[in-house]
Symmetry: C2
Subunit: 236 residues, 2 copies
C-alpha cells in the first residue's frame, strides 16, 4: 500500500505526527501538498465537493479508497499496519487514549500563541498570549509531561508500552523537540522532572530511520507559522 | 456487561456524551461518582496508584477489566457493543473522525469562558472571554455546525450515517442543546443556516429512551460549573 498524506506544505504541524510514523516504518507515501499542484488537490478535497465523507481539516490520509482525517484517527488506523501498535483491542485503545492526550496537549501548545482566535495574528493577541503561556508553563506543560512520565514509569519503560515501541513514543519525541524549540528556558527546568520522557526522546532520535529522516529535506524546520513557535517573550 | 462510568457528579460535561449513548442503548451502568463514596473511588483511580494504565482525566469507563479514558475513545469502544456504530472498520473510523471533531468543538466551547487558564475563575478572565466568544460566534460555531450540516446533506440524512443511527447523532443533539443554553441569541441566528442539524436534534429528543432520560433525575441541569455556561454578556 502506498499512502498519500495531505497536509500544509510549509509546516510540521499536526501532520508531523503522521510523518514520523510513516518514516519510522519505512512506509511508501507521498506528501501530496509538497509536490507540484499538490495544494490544489488538497484544497479540492477540503472543499469536499466530491467526497462523500469530507474531512474537516488537514491532515488527512488516503489509503486506497479510504480517506481518514484527524491525526489520532489516522494513527489508530496506521498503527498495526506499520507495526507501531499491537493488534489486540485493549492495547490499541490504550495507545489511542494516550494519543488523544497528546492531541489535547498540542491544542494547548498552539493556544499559547493563539489564545483568542486562530483567525487573528499573534501580534493581535500578544498580551493574552503572555498570560496564557504563563499558566501553560507553570501548570499545564508540567502536568502533561508528568503524566507521560508516570506512564513510562508504570510500563517499566523505555517505551509507553514497555518493551514494545509504538507511534505514541514517536509523538512524545515530537512534543519534546517542539517544546524545546518553543520554550528553551522553561523546558530546561521542566525536563528535570521527567527523565524518562527525555530518555525516550533520545532513544527515538537515535533510531536509524528517524535519524535519516531528521537529516533529510523531508523534515521541515520548526518555524513561526507552525504549532511550535519560538517567541522569546513567551518563554520563562 | 454492566458498565461503570466515572465522571464529575455535578455537571453534564464531557461525561454526558457517554451517558447519552448508554441511555439510548438501555445499557446497564453505574454513574459511580454520583453514588455514596463514589467520588473517593474516582479520585483514587485518577491518582492512579493501582492502575497500570492510569487515565489522565475523567470521564473514564470501566468495562470488566478494561479502563478507558477520553470521551471519543470510550465511544469508539462502546459504539458497536451498544449497536450505535457499524462493525466494519471504514464506518467506525469515519464515525470516530466525526466524534473527534465534536471533541475539538467542545474544547473551543469550553474556552469561550476559560480562554486563559482552567485554573482561574471565569471572573478573572472576563475581557479575554468576551473577545474569544466574539470570534467563536462569528467564525467557529458556524464553521463547525456548517460542517456537520454538510455531512448530513451528503449522507442523505436524517443521521450522519444516513439511515443508520449512531452515537455521533447523540453528540450532535447534545451540542445543540448545550449551545442553545449557552448562547440563546446567537444560536437563533446560527441555526437558520443548519436546518438538518436542528432536525436531527429534534429527532433525537423524541427517541423514547432519550425522552425518558431527559425527564429523569439522572439528567443533570446545565449550570455554570460545566462546559456549557450561560453568561449573558458573552452572547451576541
Amino acid at each position: 500500500m502506498r499512502y498519500q498524506l495531505f497536509y500544509w506544505p510549509q509546516i510540521q504541524g499536526r501532520g508531523e505526527f503522521v510523518r514520523l510514523a510513516l518514516e519510522d516504518a519505512g512506509a511508501a507515501y507521498d506528501d501530496v501538498a509538497r509536490a507540484k499542484a499538490g495544494m490544489d488537490k488538497m484544497v479540492a478535497m477540503m472543499n469536499g465537493g466530491s467526497e462523500k465523507r469530507p474531512p474537516f481539516a488537514p491532515p488527512f490520509l488516503k489509503a486506497g479508497k479510504l480517506v481518514i482525517a484527524q491525526t489520532a484517527d489516522i494513527l489508530f488506523y496506521l498503527g498495526p499496519r506499520l507495526k507501531l501498535a499491537p493488534r489486540e483491542e485493549a492495547g490499541r485503545l490504550w495507545l489511542h487514549q494516550l494519543q488523544l492526550t497528546v492531541t489535547d496537549f498540542v491544542k494547548e501548545i498552539h493556544d499559547t500563541h493563539h489564545p483568542i482566535a486562530g483567525s487573528l495574528y499573534y501580534e493581535d493577541q500578544k498580551p493574552e498570549a503572555k498570560k496564557y503561556a504563563h499558566y501553560f508553563l507553570k501548570d499545564r506543560a508540567p502536568k502533561y509531561l508528568g503524566y507521560f512520565e508516570s506512564v513510562l514509569q508504570k510500563s517499566g519503560g523505555p517505551n509507553v508500552l514497555g518493551r514494545k515501541f509504538s507511534y505514541v513514543d514517536l509523538s512524545l519525541f515530537q512534543l519534546v523537540e517542539g517544546l524545546r524549540y518553543t520554550f528553551p528556558s522553561a523546558m530546561k527546568r521542566i525536563e528535570k522532572k521527567v527523565p524518562r520522557v527525555v530518555a525516550l526522546r533520545d532513544k527515538v532520535a537515535a533510531r536509524p530511520r528517524i535519524k535519516a529522516y531528521l537529516a533529510s529535506e523531508r523534515r521541515l524546520a520548526f518555524n513561526e507559522s507552525g504549532i511550535f513557535r519560538h517567541y522569546p517573550e513567551l518563554d520563562e
